[in-house]
């Protein structure tokens, strides 16, 4: 178990003052029994919102909705949290082969948040594309187990794509990132999700934090300076969901802290909002994820 002290600050600045705005934020670490425990967490929003409600969305994520009534030139979100993350046990491959995975999916007669059915088809940010499917098929033959396929596809995405914080933006499409073989965690994740769905493996998007500095003797992970994202994949009813970080080519383990899960970025975007302003805006994001002494 590792205990983390997490700080996140996101600031949006508007060129011309916004007269009103409404935003939904998914920024707080998730409470996940058995995986992750939130010891304490707070969200501060400035300026003071006129309305503030909190709810849980379809996928079980905590959502804060804030509305600003008066004119404002900037808004800031600040998270402070202390979270315990469990060590993931070794993964034993008890997953079915890809050929029979469809049968297991069909057998899942449920539509709760963790049902594989939500994660099989194309979604807004992760469409199914023939070229991406062919890429996945090359990495994982039909005879492979679902779990082996996840590892193979994740490793292939990690090997083929170049991490480049300047190459893409939050609005870059999956196809674009795939064709150019570059991007950040969001792009890596969308490509892997589309690839897995293309070969019949249910796959979703996880947003979260990554430990800023590596444990002694280990390399620093990419994407630790900002919020991070990785992939969840369903490997049959027995093994269930596994989480893989294609940006770093590793399973999501005790260095990964989950905020939200969904089909793709659109379901879990940290801040999604609408505002009345005529001008453009800029944003900055700062993340610090530090293991606390006494933990681990």
């Amino acid at each position: 178990m590792t205990r983390y002290d997490i700080r996140l600050r996101i600031v949006y600045k508007y060129d011309t003052a916004a007269s009103a705005g409404r935003h939904v934020a998914r920024l707080l670490p998730a409470e996940l029994p058995g995986e992750q425990r939130v010891v304490a967490s707070t969200l501060d929003v400035s300026p003071r919102p006129a309305e503030w409600t909190t709810r849980v969305d379809f996928f079980g994520n905590t959502v804060s909705e804030v509305a600003f009534a008066g004119p404002h030139e900037r808004i800031g979100f600040e998270v402070r949290a202390v979270v315990d993350v469990s060590e993931a046990g070794p993964q034993l491959d008890v997953s079915p082969r890809l050929e029979t995975l469809a049968h297991e999916i069909a057998g899942a007669r449920r539509l709760d948040a963790r049902s594989p059915h939500h994660f099989t088809g194309p979604s807004q940010r992760a469409p199914i594309d023939p070229a991406v499917t062919a890429f996945a098929r090359e990495a994982a033959p039909e005879s492979a187990s679902a779990f082996a396929a996840v590892v193979a596809v994740g490793a292939a995405v990690h090997a083929e794509m170049r991490f480049d914080t300047a190459a893409t933006t939050v609005d870059t499409t999956m196809i674009d990132a795939f064709e150019n073989r570059h991007g950040v965690c969001q792009d890596f994740s969308h490509v892997m999700i589309a690839a897995l769905r293309g070969i019949g493996v249910p796959a979703g998007y996880v947003s979260g934090f990554l430990r800023t500095d590596p444990p002694p003797g280990q390399p620093r992970l990419e994407g630790a300076d900002a919020m991070h994202a990785w992939v969840m994949a369903w490997c049959g009813s027995e093994l269930g969901w596994v989480e893989y970080d294609p940006t770093n080519g590793v399973f999501a383990g005790s260095d990964h802290i989950v905020i939200a899960r969904g089909r793709d970025y659109a379901d879990v975007s940290p801040v999604r909002g609408t505002m009345r302003t005529s001008g453009d805006h800029t944003s900055v994001q700062q993340v610090d994820v530090v293991p606390m002494s006494g933990g681990g």
Partner: protein
């Protein structure tokens, strides 16, 4: 069969491969049609043509249109009325519409399950993939029970008569069914055609249905004083005409997403008097667009926070957001079984046989019978005029010819359905002077009332253009009225309450800011067009006299016209055409609040403009053509002034007109009353201001700087004077919300008072060009005050 009847039906096949509505297989006329067909046969061809023209004229006058997609300008098309109604016997009607009520209840139960417990999936009656992969199953609304507990309040079914004479449901319309308003217009137009016969024909009236539904909507409100709105995507939607028509017919506000805001979970309309609650929305916007915060990102048709208001139970949506999931084509494959499970009874009216290809057995069946199938998108939720609306043989959705049907089904089975290709019954339609059989499908509307589902006794029939079963109106089909014929006389119905009851004068509705903005700009654009046209006419009159474009006075007009985006030499001034087009746009956005006559007058103007744009005239000819346009403009203004009810929209229109006129006049005077202006400039000002006669009477001298400034700036009795227009603006502003004699003046009130006083204190001598330009700037600034106070 007498001769005339035989001529009318010459070539009408007695027995075709499919049932016919008019003819029995034996070749006789069905009893329900007999008296009506005999009456039509008795008419001379000329009489029939005259009657058809009456119906078409009504539709043209009423401005009925639908928007055709796929053309470069998504143009408005005249309504294609079939001049032959469809007649159905009331007993037959009562029989199968009882089955449709059962179906509506079943769909309500399915919807409640899909957004609630999901027993149908858990028990294996519905594949989970069909729900999870459905774009209309809206996850943010899962677990949300609508206020009042009901998902469905107004539904429609597309039905057709199959080969054995039974009625079949072809599709369920539960999201935001369109067509009810068009059914009304079809009825009115058809009544124009057969007005005398209509009374004799014992046809059930439609008004009772609409009255019952209107009362039901009003009954859905919680709290007195709360309003019901019709929620529209706006003028670019294909059935916007219908939204505006229904809003006017039922007396509800027509609202766009931009009219609405959410505050503390409550849905409010932005009105000129501030935000006002709205409590029930009859929704014509597809759910995915309703809230950019939680549904389709970047939607400009929706309102951020709308879903919050739904979750908080502060608004009733008709129908509930998410009910579109029921329209899914693949659901038809499972409804027969679900009906047995949920109600213990089979479907009273069967639906078209459907197989979902996500299951192996069903997929194999579709493969084996592909010739008799239509294969298409399982999640398709079709709209009224979509090309794919009614099943046609083939596999239109297949990605490429090269892909075999079998491979295609194996690869994409879960997103495909096969449907039995049905042949629909035919009904008579006019083709030249005789009747021919054409395939037909029927849309039937059901409204939930406190007493249960009520069926509109009539509907909306789509008639194919040719004998092929292609029915889509986008491809040239037509629409027919549906007569449910009673054995005996029927009761007359109207929307109005019986006149014996005490009448109540209803409060005028709160004017949404967006509508006020449209009225305001309509006024400004029409006035701007008029000013530009007058300038152009003055130019061409002088050009005809002098024949020399180099004349300094012509150069001055040129300069003034350029301010309004026009050049005088080019024929019809571009600026005027643009202003009239902008006026038409503004009117389109307030169609529900605008009288049909005014709309027609504006359309007539636009037609004249388009004609003039095609020809090039100069000098005298052009001056005359501009005179015609100016007369039509005066006609429009007169209509507005004489006929329009003095509600707040009219005040904004009037303010816009006065402000634009004051602005244009001041600018014109700054130019023409300048000491350096060329000879004849003052006469020009008087002419463009349409004050030649007045000047002659008031001063009995030739124009001078003093008389012209006195008449056109300072005379409070001259409607063509700036001060008169400022008085008019002040008067209107005094009637707007927030203006109250007992309270401090509003910012627009203060601005107009200051300006009015300044102008009134002037004499012609004290008004120099600089002063005129300063006044002009202040008038322009007033527009900003108004916008800030009322229009945003």
């Amino acid at each position: 069969m007498d001769d005339r009847l035989a001529r009318l039906l010459a070539g009408y096949p007695a027995a075709g491969p499919v049932p016919d509505e008019l003819m029995t297989p034996a070749g006789g006329i069905r009893p329900v049609w007999a008296p009506f067909i005999a009456a039509i046969a008795a008419m001379s061809p000329a009489e029939r043509a005259a009657r058809h023209a009456r119906g078409d004229q009504y539709l043209a006058d009423a401005g009925v249109f639908y928007r055709q997609y796929g053309t470069p300008d998504a143009s408005e098309r005249a309504w294609p009325l079939s001049h032959m109604p469809l007649l159905i016997d009331e007993e037959e009607w009562a029989g199968f519409t009882a089955g449709l009520k059962q179906r509506a209840d079943l769909l309500e139960a399915v919807c409640a399950d899909l957004y609630g417990e999901n027993r149908l999936v858990a028990d294996g009656h519905l594949p989970a993939a069909l729900v999870a992969g459905n774009p209309e199953w809206l996850r943010p609304l899962v677990g949300v029970t609508p206020r009042g507990g009901r998902f469905l309040h107004f539904v429609a079914f597309d039905i057709g008569r199959g080969p054995t004479g039974e009625w079949w449901v072809l599709g369920d319309r539960t999201q935001a069914p369109s067509g009810a308003g068009f059914a009304l217009e079809n009825r009115i137009a058809t009544t124009r055609v057969y007005g005398d016969r209509f009374g004799e024909a014992n046809v059930h009236r439609l008004a009772g249905f609409f009255r019952a539904f209107r009362d039901s909507l009003i009954g859905l409100r919680e709290g007195q004083g709360n309003r019901v709105g019709i929620y529209t995507p706006g003028p670019m939607n294909e059935t916007y005409y219908e939204h505006a028509y229904i809003a006017r017919y039922l007396g509800f506000q027509l609202l766009e997403g931009d009219d609405l805001i959410v505050r503390d979970g409550e849905l409010l309309v932005r009105t000129i008097a501030g935000p006002k609650p709205v409590n029930v929305l009859w929704r014509r916007v597809d759910a995915s667009w309703a809230d950019p915060l939680e549904l389709a990102e970047g939607s400009t048709l929706g309102t951020p926070g709308m879903l919050g208001a739904v979750r908080a139970g502060r608004i009733t949506m008709v129908n509930a957001l998410g009910s579109g999931v029921l329209e899914t084509r693949a659901l038809l494959a499972f409804l027969p079984r679900i009906s047995e499970v949920l109600t213990g009874a089979p479907l009273a009216v069967p639906n078209i046989a459907t197989w979902w290809c996500g299951q192996k057995a069903e997929r194999d069946y579709v493969k084996a019978n592909a010739d008799a199938m239509t294969i298409g998108d399982a999640f398709e939720t079709r709209m009224l005029f979509d090309a794919a609306d009614v099943a046609v043989p083939g596999d239109a959705a297949r990605p490429s010819e090269a892909l075999g049907i079998g491979d295609w089904l194996d690869a994409s089975g879960a997103s495909l359905v096969g449907q039995e290709t049905v042949t629909l019954s035919t009904t008579p339609a006019f083709d030249g002077g005789r009747l021919v059989p054409r395939p037909m499908s029927l849309r039937v509307f059901l409204a939930r009332t406190p007493d249960g589902w009520e069926v509109m006794p009539g509907g909306f029939a789509r008639i194919g253009r040719s004998a092929s079963p292609q029915l889509s109106m986008q491809q040239g089909g037509s629409a027919a009225d549906v007569w449910i014929v009673s054995k005996g006389p029927v009761r007359g119905e109207t929307m109005l309450a019986p006149s014996q009851t005490q009448f109540v004068r209803e409060q005028p509705s709160q004017l949404p800011s967006r509508a006020a903005d449209s009225f305001y700009w309509l006024g400004r654009y029409v006035e701007r067009a008029e000013h530009t046209l007058r300038l152009a006419r003055a130019y061409h009159v002088r050009l005809a006299e002098t024949g020399a474009a180099a004349d300094p006075l012509l150069a001055l007009i040129h300069e003034e016209m350029e301010r309004f985006g026009s050049e005088p030499g080019e024929g019809l001034p571009r600026g005027a055409a643009q202003a009239l087009a902008a006026a038409a746009n503004a009117t389109a956005a307030i169609r529900d609040r605008f009288a049909v006559d005014g709309w027609n007058a504006l359309n007539d103007l636009s037609r004249t403009v388009r004609q003039l744009e095609k020809v090039t005239l100069v000098g005298d000819d052009m001056a005359r053509a501009l005179g015609v346009l100016l007369r039509k403009l005066s006609g429009f203004s007169g209509l507005v002034h004489e006929n329009m009810y003095r509600f707040l929209g009219w005040r904004f229109l009037s303010i816009g007109r006065s402000l634009e006129r004051a602005l244009a006049l001041t600018g014109l005077l700054a130019l023409t009353a300048d000491p350096d202006a060329p000879e004849g400039a003052l006469d020009l000002a008087v002419e463009v201001a349409d004050a030649v006669m007045t000047h002659r009477r008031r001063y009995s001298v030739a124009t001078s700087r003093a008389t012209v400034l006195d008449l056109l700036m300072l005379d409070p009795l001259n409607p063509r004077a700036v001060v008169y227009q400022l008085d008019a603006i002040a008067e209107h502003i005094g009637h707007l919300p927030g203006a109250d004699a007992l309270r401090p003046a509003t910012p627009p009130q203060r601005a107009i008072l200051k300006m009015r006083t300044e102008v009134a204190l002037h004499t012609p001598d004290s008004l120099d060009t600089e002063g005129l330009r300063a006044i002009e700037a202040e008038i322009a600034a007033l527009s900003g005050h108004l916008a800030a106070a009322y229009l945003t």
